[in-house]
């Protein structure tokens, strides 16, 4: 597994207890992905709020709409739009935990992050392992927060698949963890076959090396 330094991917635009939106420049877009674990961490503070990216969108305006109609837009124009015009890429994040006084808690934070708090991508192996470590009972309580997200705004099944796949790799292809996550999902969704079955099918496709079907 490759450990990478903390990667700042943008700053908080707006926030609530349940989630927050990140604004970033186009140049910052190469690292974060749908399902990535991120944290909003004010400078100089050890407190932070963790979340999963569940949506990324890039707005347009009338100028972009007009430029799209041209054949072969030239490089100068594309670079002008990406580097100079104030159209930030926006990512929506679902809160799944927070850290306070050195303790990691898989629940909604007492306060949301503030505007312009920097947001980092969680890619350090130790930090990812700490956040995603099952409890002694094998439970992964933060998965409940994902399942409770409003389905009309958050693609829950796809988010679960992307997150499990991402963490599996960041934990060094940790099959034990991945299967623990699958068992937790089966337990939490035992009354919701409509969500459970497609999620398991998608996981089995995304991680064919795992005996999910079995």
């Amino acid at each position: 597994m490759m450990d990478r330094a903390q990667v700042e991917i943008g700053r908080v635009l707006r926030a609530s207890t349940a989630g927050f939106a990140i604004g970033c420049r186009v140049s910052q877009l190469s690292q974060p992905a749908f399902g990535s674990l991120v944290k909003a961490k004010p400078l100089g503070s050890e407190e932070c709020v963790y979340g999963l990216i569940y949506d990324m969108h890039i707005d347009d305006d009338q100028l972009i709409q007009r430029l799209v109609m041209t054949e072969n837009p030239r490089a100068e124009i594309i670079e002008d739009q990406r580097q100079n015009r104030m159209l930030p890429v926006e990512m929506s994040v679902l809160t799944v935990g927070y850290k306070q006084d050195g303790r990691l808690i898989h629940g909604l934070p007492p306060r949301p992050p503030l505007n312009l708090d920097p947001v980092q991508l969680c890619v350090e192996g130790d930090e990812v392992r700490e956040f995603t470590e099952p409890l002694g009972t094998g439970a992964l309580p933060y998965l409940r927060l994902i399942l409770r997200a409003p389905a009309n705004r958050v693609p829950v099944d796809q988010l679960l698949v992307a997150h499990v796949r991402d963490v599996y790799r960041l934990r060094g292809n940790d099959q034990v963890w991945a299967l623990t996550a699958v068992e937790e999902l089966i337990e939490l969704l035992r009354s919701n076959y409509e969500l459970l079955v497609p999620t398991l099918e998608a996981l089995s496709t995304a991680l064919p090396e795992l005996p999910i079907g079995a």
């Binding site: 100028l63 007009r66 430029l67 109609m69 041209t70 837009p73 030239r74 490089a75 100068e76 124009i77 670079e79 002008d80 990406r82 580097q83 100079n84 015009r85």
Partner: protein, 404 residues
Amino acid sequence: MSLDFEQLTDRVNEMAQTARERQYRRLDRLREVLAFLREKRLAWEELTRQREFIEKTVLASRQPKPFRGSAIPLHMDQLGLDEAFAYDAGDLPDVATIVSADGSQIVPDRHAAFVYYLINIGGIVYHHGQGEAPEVFSEPTLEFPTEDELDDAMFNNYASVTIKRDLGEIEMLARQAQQYKQAKIPLLTVMDQRLLYVPTGEISPQFKDEVIAEWQGYMQDIRQAGCWLAGYIDSPRKSSVLTMLRHIHPERDIDNLKDMGEWTGLTDVDLFSRILRPGERSKIFQDVSFSNTRFRRLNKVCFFYLNTGGSNIARVDLPVSVARDATAVRAIHAMLYDQCQILGRYPYVIARADEMAVVQRRDQEELEFRIGRRMDAAGLDTVETTSKAQTKVLARSGKGRFEP
């Protein structure tokens, strides 16, 4: 009180009917103008005699006849008045720099809580053919009274603020031109207004002279930096070329240089929209007017018309020093039309310069919020808006709805 649209229905119908009739009459008159233009396409002697007449009896006269302004072709050669010069992609430089600047302002408002004005000059440095991101800039200037504002003309005369903004635009072009000019790479500066600058408003003749002198100073700076300058006017309303033609028309009123007879209401755009196809430009004309007599020799303003797409006709002003340079004219024609292809009919660099310059309503609100905060911190009681302004806000506010 809201508009009573029912009362306006008949007048709106009448307006459309009248517009259609006017358009038909216009087309008839335009056919006549076009026929006359083609008849006189090489009438250089007549046009020269007329120009000399105007200079003697109007421009140089102590008791000039009323005169609106006309034009004269810069080149009197085998290419006639109706000649159209096609866009040639081969004239487009492989590499060039195009700088555009624009300005906007917040004028002093005596009903507001604070007396100030703001001028924002914004623009873009576009590196044509180099694949790089352009550089953009935005330079705000905030001015406030240092003495009693009632005594300071800048806070009581909006024309002065507008003039300052205009000078700021061309000054910025001169500055950017000097900064970005590189050897062997042509640099074009272009602004979204006429080069034949005439300050208007309630200003003294002396101030007017100072402004024109300063404007020309920047024109000179750009020229001495080895750069080109152009003014771009979208939807121009001038009738200089039409006036020039009218002055040699057999039915002209010899004693009235402003009389256009049956051609009244027609503009040069009407004429050239029938001659120029997309990408084509007209012959270059030199402006013949009192205003141009105030411009020094190399700064005298010339112009051509350009079809930027469809039937959209723009006017491009050039100093005569540039207009006489055939290579420069071909390159400028090509670059401006090329820029118009990006967005369709309007140069991309000018659109971006406008975007960099504009001060949005929310920007103004944010500025006034910050001013208010600093005033409070300085222990000043900020004066509320006038009763008139407050009442307008109340009366114009939107409606609310009860939500249980």
